[in-house]
């Protein structure tokens, strides 16, 4: 199913991929500088002027539009740096020095506030400026290359491609550039840049005592990491307990969920069961209502005085006292997992039932001839086949559940609180803890540190599983 090259890569495993990547990168870098060097030593005056005035080489060789674009980029960049970027970049070492101050204004009987530096904006705009610098450098070198190539082509007596032709090239042999650039800009702006900013925060002391506009924060090195890894006992205990719970939660919400969904799907698809469409719709309808609504609804229903306790106690009379679904630590953990099943299983049902219908019948046929019972068929054929097809889905699900903010936040908000943890409750996942730390407690530094750790854990888990399952896939016979 996957392209051959993909399988090749998966076979090599992660280590090989990385080492090959590094080597390839090294080659690319060295050949790149050789080219730039050649452009400088062997280029004519037009090429060399391009080192200072971008687009000059292209422009004077009649590639007007290309030349103008390069020049415009240079002008815009310089304007940006002069009026905006430089001011912030120069403060990146200290993250600001001017404190908030005020002067007395006798006439109006007020203090005139003089705003100081805003460390957070300095950091954010510095990161932004650094990104733009890198972007500019890329364009700058491409400008030199363009000038150099144009010169070489001219000496060789070839006709230079005009702008229209280059544009057309973007729809053909350079199509990948066209296709990848807009999404890449989106990802750079709204994922990479914020993430870099966030990573930076983990090395500062941006907490509730160092907040703008009144206060500055600055770099503190690895202090926050030391805090979590033993420096502060309560914090590190909380971190590791929540990590354990988060992993348990993610496993239950992903794999058990998946298997239960598969079981229900098997039942619906069982031979002789009528009204298959009705059964499936019954489960699927729950997807329609936005999850935050159902979660809030469930929260209401599961309260001590909520509908479910009323049902059990007053209507059916099965219990004497309300069951503390959401206020008893252990019970609350079970409750959130079960409620999450209610939300997640319908998805599993649709996905698995679709695939189940497509398992080649001859696989079962031959198994039956070999004397395999239903259980053996299930473990030997159904399960491996399903896993084979849905592994990527399962891994993304696992990561999503690991970071399943909504389910916990709307259902229990992490509660019930417990004295055993630092500002966290029994059902808090790492992400909800992190959210509490930022929003209620303004400990941005600690939150960022946890964010980085969560990321590392997720990355390791998913890269490892991708590789493991990739090797498992080779042995599969379903293709």
């Amino acid at each position: 199913m996957a392209a051959k090259a993909d399988r090749q890569q998966k076979k090599d495993g992660l280590g090989a991929t990385i080492s090959r990547g590094v080597r390839g990168f090294g080659h690319a870098v060295s050949s790149f500088f050789k080219e730039i060097g050649a452009a400088f030593s062997q280029g004519d005056w037009r090429t060399r002027t391009s080192f200072i005035i971008m687009g000059f080489g292209c422009f004077t060789r009649k590639q007007f539009v290309k030349g103008l674009i390069y020049f415009a980029v240079e002008v815009l960049f310089i304007l940006y740096m002069v009026f905006f970027g430089a001011h912030y970049l120069q403060d990146i070492g200290t993250l600001g020095t001017n404190l908030f101050d005020r002067e007395w204004d006798e006439a109006n009987q007020i203090w005139i506030n003089i705003p100081g530096d805003n460390s957070m904006l300095i950091l954010l705009y510095s990161v932004l400026s650094i990104f733009l610098c890198i972007f500019f450098l890329v364009i700058y070198f491409s400008n030199i290359r363009a000038a150099w190539q144009a010169q070489q082509m001219q000496t060789a007596g070839k006709k230079l491609p005009n702008f229209k032709k280059s544009l057309l090239g973007l729809l053909d042999e350079k199509l990948h550039v066209t296709l990848l650039t807009p999404p890449a800009i989106g990802v750079l702006m709204f994922t990479v840049l914020p993430v870099v900013f966030m990573i930076c925060l983990a090395f500062t002391n941006f907490d509730r005592n160092h907040q703008p506009p009144g206060h500055l924060f600055t770099w503190v090195g690895l202090d926050n990491f030391k805090d979590i890894f033993g420096g502060n006992q309560l914090k590190s205990y909380t971190f590791f307990s929540l990590l354990l719970w988060t992993v348990i939660w993610a496993i239950f919400s992903t794999f058990i969920n998946y298997f239960l969904g598969m079981l229900i799907a098997l039942m619906i698809n069982k031979k002789g069961i009528k009204l298959k469409g009705l059964w499936r719709t019954l489960f699927v309808v729950s997807i329609a209502v936005p999850a935050f609504v159902t979660l809030l609804l469930m929260r209401n229903m599961l309260q001590d005085a909520g509908t479910i306790n009323v049902l059990l106690q007053d209507v059916l009379g099965w219990t004497d006292a309300p069951i503390h679904f959401l206020t008893d630590g252990t019970l609350a953990r079970i409750t959130v997992i079960i409620v999450n099943y209610w939300i997640g299983i319908p998805y599993s049902i649709i996905i698995t039932s679709g695939i189940l219908m497509n398992i080649p019948a001859d696989l079962y046929e031959s198994a039956r001839i070999d004397g395999a019972g239903p259980w053996k068929q299930f473990t030997r054929i159904t399960t491996p086949y399903m896993l084979f097809i849905t592994t990527p889905y399962l891994i993304t699900q696992f990561i999503q559940n690991f970071n399943n903010f909504n389910a916990i936040y709307f259902l229990t908000a992490g509660g019930p609180q417990t004295l055993a943890y630092y500002q966290a409750g029994s059902t808090d996942l790492l992400v909800t803890w992190l959210y509490k730390l930022t929003v209620q407690w303004q400990d941005y530094n600690l939150a960022s540190t946890i964010g980085i750790l969560v990321f590392v854990i997720c990355a390791v888990i998913s890269l490892a599983t991708f590789n493991l399952t990739a090797s498992a896939k080779r042995e599969e016979t379903f293709q």
């Binding site: 199913m1 991929t17 990547g21 954010l124 729809l171 053909d172 199509l175 990948h176 296709l179 990848l180 989106g186 702006m189 914020p194 900013f197 966030m198 229900i264 039942m267 619906i268 069961i273 499936r280 719709t281 019954l282 489960f283 309808v285 729950s286 997807i287 209502v289 936005p290 935050f292 159902t294 809030l296 609804l297 229903m301 909520g306 009323v310 209610w342 299983i345 649709i350 996905i351 039932s353 679709g354 497509n358 097809i389 849905t390 990527p392 889905y393 993304t396 990561i399 970071n403 936040y409 992400v431 992190l434 959210y435 930022t438 941005y444 960022s448 969560v454 990321f455 997720c458 998913s462």
Partner: protein, 285 residues
């Protein structure tokens, strides 16, 4: 012998029916209860010691559209709808572009890009919300619906994986034939691959269309105090604050039902494509 097998099967099916009925009841009852609550005449979020409402009314629905001073439900609904439509168009395009480039085109940075994208998708997104807000402010888009569209669709390229798997299953021979006939690669993408990818497009459209209806946190950070530009989740959540929950809880349920109906229809109709989509085309329903 034959009879006993039949009997056993019938018994087995009976058990399955019972289990399915029980589970189905379990699944459907909260939804039914939501619908019942949305018609409830008594106000408040808790009923005391009884379950079925004592009176029914349509007021909860009427009020969502008439009593808009405090909670402008129609406006928020429209906001969300516009954002959902725009962001699902952009997201879908982004996903298709990335997936196609990584699946069909061969270029130097292909492999590194795939690995980086895989890893980047794992950052807990809302950690970077505050940075995103300030970036949007730099380009003067904070508190706008455009900002929401950007935020919901900007990262879409990272979720290329499933779509790429789908493209991988389309035979390459077709592309090659077209290119021999003089088509550009873009034409191949636009005129051959896209029309063949209906299931995966439906899947992407479905999932990205739903995101704005469900998101609360991101929208709240970006919209801040701009009430007029709230999305449905943001606005409806406000109904449950301690000052308004008694008056508005039943209207909240009504609002949820109204949101739910189109999504339910969409989902039931599109179910088949959804399955094909998520399995990356390994299954042709």
């Amino acid at each position: 012998m034959k009879n006993s097998i039949k009997a056993r099967r019938r018994f087995g099916n009976g058990v399955v029916y019972v289990v399915l009925a029980a589970l189905g009841l379990l699944w459907i009852s909260p939804i039914v209860y939501l619908v019942i609550s949305s018609f409830r005449a008594e106000k408040g979020s808790f009923l005391d010691g009884y379950i079925m409402p004592r009176g029914y009314t349509l007021d909860n629905y009427v009020r969502l559209f008439t009593d808009t001073d405090q909670f402008n439900y129609p406006r928020w609904f429209l906001n969300t709808f516009v954002v959902a439509v725009c962001s699902c168009i952009i997201s879908t395009l982004f996903v298709l572009m990335v997936a196609y480039a990584l699946s069909r085109l061969r270029f130097k940075m292909r492999r590194p890009i795939m690995n980086i994208a895989l890893v980047l998708g794992m950052f807990p997104g809302f950690m970077s919300m505050i940075a995103i807000y300030h970036l949007l402010k730099v380009i003067n888009l904070d508190k706008t619906l455009v900002a929401l569209v950007l935020v919901y669709s900007a990262g879409a390229g990272l979720t290329y994986y499933i779509t790429k798997g789908f493209f991988d299953t389309i035979p390459k021979a077709m592309d090659e034939a077209a290119i021999l006939d003089g088509a550009t690669r873009f034409q191949v993408f636009w005129k051959i691959t896209i029309p063949m990818s209906k299931p995966i497009i439906t899947y992407t459209v479905l999932t990205t269309f739903m995101a704005p209806w469900l998101d609360y946190i991101m929208a709240s950070v970006i919209m801040k105090d701009n009430y007029q530009n709230y999305t449905i989740a943001l606005g409806m959540y406000r109904m449950l604050e301690r000052e308004s929950i008694y008056e508005w809880y039943t209207a909240f349920c009504a609002g949820a039902v109204i949101v739910g109906i189109p999504i339910a229809i969409l989902f039931i109709v599109m179910q088949r494509y959804y399955v094909e989509g998520v399995t990356g085309g390994s299954v042709k329903g």
